[in-house]
Each structure stands twice: as structure tokens, then as C-alpha cells.
Amino acid sequence: MEFISAQNVCFSYSEIEDGKKAVNAVDGVSLDIKKGEFVALLGHNGCGKSTMAKHFNAMLVPDSGKVYVDGDDTSDEDKTYDIRRKVGLVQQNPDNQLVASIVEEDVAFGPENLGVPPQEIRLRVDEALKAVDMYEYRKNAPFKLSGGQKQRIAIAGVLAMQTECIVLDEPTAMLDPNGRNEVMSTLIKLNKKKNMTVVLITHYMDEAVLADRVVVMDNGRILTQGKPEEVFSQVELLKKHRLDVPQATELAYKLRGCGVKIDRLPLTTEDCVSMLEEVLG
């Protein structure tokens, strides 16, 4: 069953200027996301992936085309809050999305807005903080935490609203490698254990490899999509659109170019090591 369904979505930020038609940030994208799926939306800056993310929780409404979330049309203003309580959005800058000066009060912000009774909020906050391994920091001030920790609190803030889907717009772009790992392992845990639908927008190929499905966008359109191994085996196509492939894939691809016999391109470092062992016999 499709949880989010985008149908031929077009969107442009500016109105028509100087008689010329404005460029569409998203230009005819159709995309279905199933319940419990982990989808990575990939592309370099300005390809329309963040614009797409804002369509998933009715922050933006398509100029033409439709987006349905769990059957509700996002352009229906009466449904806006129903949609936002089903789909949470985590943004790039961890500093700019925490609202309160104490961790647990920030996590409580969402459920407070939904009008959840106080005792229930307490339970949800504790549960959400435990799910992202930040329970012991509940009384801290967010500005004293690391970027990875702040991003996990932002995720907890979404969890406390008991959303069914979490959309993350480059959540790791401003983090160091440690913070990036923390956030990624939290997301994988939520997807596997809680069957949370995850839409991860990123430009790190190594993160996209971890998803069930990779969607590559370029110039406001979908370039290609499929399982990570299918997408990243199209090295020529990705290179043509100035996109990278994971390092392991790149290495194997170059070796193949030098005449080494490799049938399947590896995606991760471990994959690559075993492939090399095989080749070297």
C-alpha cells in the first residue's frame, strides 16, 4: 500500500518574471513510497530534492499535480495538520529547529501542539528520548550538545508526535563523521524495529547505500531509481550528471576499466574487500 503518493508534481518558487516563465524546482515528479520503506532521495544541490521533501508534509503544495499522504490530498487545507502529525520533517541545521531551552521540553513541543494530555506527553517524551538514546540528557540545554545529539533530539521531537513517517532533509550535512554515524544508526534502528517509514534526503552516497530504495533526482526530475545496487551500477549515467558513486563502487568500476574481471559492483567497503579477495584468488 502506498503511504505517500506524488503524482506528476510541478512546483516553482517564483512567479513569472520579466515575461519569462520561471524555472520549475520540481518538474513532473511521480513517486510512491510504501509504508515501512526506507527511501533515499539523492541528488546534488538545486536538483529539487529539498523542495520535494517539503511537499511530503504539506509545507509546500504542488503548482500542478497531486501529493497524497495516507489518502489525504495535501492541497486540502483542512487536512494540513492531519498530514503533519503523520509525516514529520527534520531539517538540515540542528540549531534552528529546537524550540525550547531544555531537551525534554523541546521534545514535548510537538505533542503539546497536538493537545495531548500532560501525563501522556510525559510518557511519549521519555519513550522518544530512549528511542534515540538521549534519555540521560533530558534536562540539558540543547546548545551544550554536539550536532549529532541535537539532530537526534530533533528526531525524538518527531517521534513524540507518533508520526508514521519521518522525512529528513540532509540531516547530516552539518555534522562530523561521528554525528553522521549516530544519526544514521538511529534511523536504521527506527526503520527496522519500529517499522517507521523513512525518507532520507542526502548527497552522501554512503548513506544512500543503506536504504531499501534509492531515487536519484536531477534538474527537478527523477533520473533513475531502484535498489541501491541497481542504481549505483549505472556509473556512466551518474557520472554524466555530475553525481558520485560510493568509493567502493568507484574503485571496482575503475579496475574494471583497466581490464580486471568484475561481474558485480560492490557498494560497501566490506563488499569491496571480499570482491578483491575473490579476484586476487
Binding site: R84, G88, N93, N96, V99, A108, E112, P142, A154, V158
Partner: protein, 270 residues
Amino acid sequence: MVRDVTLGQFYPGNSFIHRLDPRSKILLLIGYLVIIFCTFNYLSLSLVTIFTLFYILISGVSPKIYLKSLKVIIVIVLITSVLNLFYGTGEPIWQWGIISITMNGINRAVFVTIRIVCLILASSCLTFTTSPTDLTDAIESLLKPIAKIHFPVHEVAMMMTLALRFVPTLLEETDKIMQAQKARGADMDSGNIVTRVKAFIPILIPLFVSAFRRAYDVATAMECRCYHGGAGRTRMKVLHMTKRDAAAFAVVALMISGVIVCNMMFPAVM
């Protein structure tokens, strides 16, 4: 350097005063401030002073910190008390040219000094023992009645919460921008006051631009989390008054009636 600034200066603790409902603390403070200015003789003034020392001791915050808060206003206290010293009426006890000191002037100076000191100590006690969030919650709750006349109580409280949240973030950013500008050769530590103020402009402009960008992001984040104003919103922490608050009210009421009795029984010197 800018990081040393701690707005509100909250000192976490577990004392009797820390555990009072923030609303009672605000109401008690208001009552206390009124009564400070209703002391008319030395007996009632000393009663208030003793009470002040009493709550400082049980607040669980070191007296040294209170002294630090007084340091800031020492100049104001000195100026007002010296001025009052010479403004007395009645028989002069010491005279030099047109300057004269009367008994009334001395009394005035003493009263004004002690009143200002008590006022600062009491307000510090509130901010030292109450977290900024509790304070805004209490203000929102106390102002609720005037929401009926369409005063945006919830919005004001939310703005205060957000402002407090972004104080450390913006201070950190100021620090970063200052370093960045210094790295490009900006000179901020020399020249007269005008050049120094001018040197601050290249710091303020990027800070403002970034503050607006942040505001936009925060607004998006709040909308994403279903924020739609105060209507239908609940709170995780519900403020409620306990026996402890009743006890505090009783103690302050006792002090106030003590002051009134002293004022009536003995002649006023002010």
C-alpha cells in the same frame, strides 16, 4: 568572552525556594517589593532586612553570588544615598556654606540604601532560583486573565521562550563572526569610542542577516510540528501550588503584618 554572559542567571538547586511554584514566587516578590517601600521607621525597616537575610540563607545560593549582583548597582546606590543626604528638611546638624545635613537627610539616605539593596536581592533571588522556562510559564499563567481583553498572552510567552532559547546560540555566533572579521584584519580594540562603535558594524550586519535566516528556519520547524498558536495547546509540565506555597504565603503575610504593626506602634521617621 561573550560566552560568560548568562542571561537570567539560574542556579539549579533543590532548596525550599527552588521548589516553590514560580507563580507564587512572582506574586510574593511583588508583595514584598510593595512592603519595602511602606517601611516608615527603623523597626519595620530592620524587620524587612532580617527577612531578606533569612530567605537569602534558605535559597541555597551562595551569598557571594548575591554580593556579585549588588556590585553592578553600587554606583546607583551611592549616588542616590548621597543626594538624599543633602535633601533633608528641618534643623541642620552640620553646615558648610549652602550644604547642610539634617537628621531627616541621614534617615532618608539610610532608608533609600537599604530599600534598593533589598529590592535587588529579592529580584536576584527570583531569577537565581527559577529556570527561565518556568518563569515564562508562570508569567503566561498569571497574565491569562488579560487574554480576555485580547492581549496576546500566549504569543508574548512564546516569544520570550524563543528569545531565551536563542540567546546562547546568537552569542556563540557573535563570537564566531568577530573571530572571522579579526582574521580578515578587522581592528576592534583600538581607537576612540566612535571608531570602536563603527568597527562593530561589520559584526552586526552578518549577525542580523543570520538571525533572520534562523527565524525563518525556526518558523518552518514549528509549523512542521503542528504549531498553530495557543488554542488547543496543552503543556507537559503543569504548574500547581502545594502546601509549600501556602507556607511561603503565610510567612510573607506574617512579615507584612509585622511591618504594618511596627509602622502603627512607633512614630514614623520618614
